[in-house]
Subunit: 379 residues, 2 copies
């Protein structure tokens, strides 16, 4: 039977029991609120993972790259929302995915992009359905729900308009439950109000798409919303635990590393998992508890609270006591295995080609391949 | 003829003229000092790049993963130093590479690893040549040149001992030329002294391997050193420019992005290049000038000094004025191309599958594939 000792290090481990539990938790919550889930592919980027997330859902997915769209399409998943403001140059590739059978939908927040879409429809005779991105929190992109620009974009889009979407990225700064609930309401209100304005002005805007992992979990009313997007929820990570979206015990992803040296005077374990394995993401740096490059677990996944991964070079990790005190490194000799819980699941997973699956804490022999990269056709 | 407009974004651009110039600069410097270069594969991870770096050199390379070793071996490059402290579990994979024709050399800094090597030799009848890693700067791994442990490890290694290696990673904190020169001397002294101690004690230690990009450029005497390792030197990056190792004009790597939106009130350009393209590396944060997520250039590569990439989400970049003032975004409409110079070439390059080559600022049509991943055989 396969054990962790049979795996090369660093390896990316996926605890399938936690994965299923995380998914069921959010799916159940949304079912109660009466809104379907359109899972975001950007975290898992893996077809076997997606198939489990789509059970009992309408079947649509959210993607962050056209490469993700292509991989979904190749697997027979055709209802695809490309949720990054569309660049005019990407329209031919999107049309190619349409021609291959994808029901693509794009997002945009500018007259320039809306006009590029209209010109594309005029040229090709086939449009690309679009949602207008709404700025619900000042975090990044989108137009204000009460802006003139919203109606101008709708006018420029014409028949390609399908509705609105928003992403409350500022929810990643909401530490209390109250803040997250308020942010979820703010996200919903912005999207629903924008859709109502469009409908009152005579436009068809059936789709009201919202989502971020924190708001998806803390929303207590999604009236008027037609779908929720979330990605990291299914793995969870130290940022989500730090925000109170999940417990540390919910984190399904970890990186298996091997101790390759000791610096006894400094109290450092040196491992073969550096930033190439964990990524450079330091998402917990701005949270109440900074987890540096990750929380350390023993080989069986039990958290070693006193330890933290304090440093990362390309292929070297440095593990020390959180309080900086020297300690007896002998418990973790050269060759010992440890597991690191990541700050940010999307970033850490992206450093690997796939997931080694665990059930009951043991490798099942299954490996879920990821699709990395950005584009279709061209590399 | 191919132009930048034909490329999907984000794409990783490699200015071949700068690449050649960077390589020639270091190779010439080391030629003058009479020491050959053993280029580090970890930055470029690409065979066509390596072939150019190996011209006029003995032909050996440095790797940070066994995947790199395998890719080199498959391309006929057989003299391979695996320069991350070897874990006992990796010895079978290394033996497999030896059996396939690789002249592998490993490094270690513990009795445990040395004994694992001796046991491996005893079991297999064939040893794995090893260098003892010397700690020249307290940065990470290695044993002190004047320690008892050095001689104990040599004794445990027996016939597998080939010499010593060190990496002055602290050179990444040396801002003045004087500090870098001093660090280069310190790196050399530690390695040479360790080798002399071993030789005086009766051990054979012909190899004295040193290197980091800053010390390689600023060393003015490498007496006693038999080879220099460096990787990032050939691309350079904002960290190296910030340390005065190169000029910004030497940086050969950039990420081509497209403007996908404007947040006019905030003075933000939104692009389709986020941390998935640039990485989360914030290596300039601790330098005199913090370049945030990267310096911004126009599509032709001219630096736009007043702009900087202030934020990164997974597939979104945020570009603003460095002074935070509002400005006229109209010069960079939706669909415009920009190029971002990265903080850390190794980390940014690792986010892509390969390099789009430029000569005279134009795509040549060449694409240099990278090999990512960690392991041989297994994924």
């Amino acid at each position: 039977m396969l054990t962790l000792d049979d795996l090369p290090t660093p390896s990316l481990l996926l605890d399938h029991d936690r994965f299923v539990r995380n998914h069921e938790r959010l799916a159940t919550h949304l079912l109660r609120l009466g809104v379907p889930l359109r899972p975001h592919v950007k975290t898992a980027k893996s077809i076997p993972a997606l198939r489990q997330l789509l059970r009992g859902q309408p079947g649509g997915v959210t993607v962050s790259t056209l490469r993700e769209a292509e991989a979904c399409l190749d697997a027979g998943i055709t209802d695809i929302l490309y949720a990054v403001g569309v660049a005019p140059q990407k329209l031919p590739a999107i049309a190619e995915l349409q021609a291959r059978g994808a029901a693509m939908m794009v997002i945009l927040d500018s007259l320039a992009a809306a006009r590029a879409l209209a010109a594309h429809r005029h040229r090709r005779g086939i449009g690309i359905p679009a949602l207008i991105e709404i700025d619900s929190d000042g975090h990044r992109a989108g137009v204000a729900a009460d802006s003139t620009l919203l109606l101008d974009i709708a006018e420029a889009l014409g028949d390609d308009l399908r509705g609105v979407m928003t992403h409350a990225g500022e929810s990643y700064r909401c530490v209390t439950a109250e803040e997250k609930r308020a942010m979820a309401a703010q996200e919903r209100d912005a999207a629903v109000n924008a859709a109502l304005r469009l409908r009152f002005a005579g436009y068809s805007a059936p789709v009201v798409s919202v989502g971020s992992t924190p708001t998806a979990h803390f929303a207590d009313d999604l009236s008027g919303v037609t779908e929720v997007r979330a990605g990291v929820y299914v793995f969870q990570d130290l940022v989500m635990a730090g925000l109170g979206v999940c417990a540390v015990d919910d984190i399904a992803l970890s990186v298996l590393v091997t101790v390759i040296g000791h610096q006894a005077e400094k109290g450092w374990l040196i491992t073969d998992g550096g930033w190439m394995a964990l990524s450079r993401d330091r998402g917990t740096a701005s949270l109440p508890v900074d987890q540096a490059y990750g929380l350390v677990c023993d080989a069986d996944g039990r958290v070693l609270e006193e330890l933290v991964m304090i440093g990362a070079n390309q292929e070297h990790g440095i593990i020390a006591r959180r309080d900086g005190q020297p300690w007896d490194l002998g418990a973790y000799p050269v060759g010992a295995h440890l597991r690191i819980l990541p700050n940010h699941a999307c970033a850490t997973a992206a450093q690997f080609d796939g997931y080694v699956l665990l059930a009951d804490g043991k490798p099942t022999g299954e490996y879920w391949q990821r699709f990395n990269g950005f584009h279709i056709g061209l590399p």
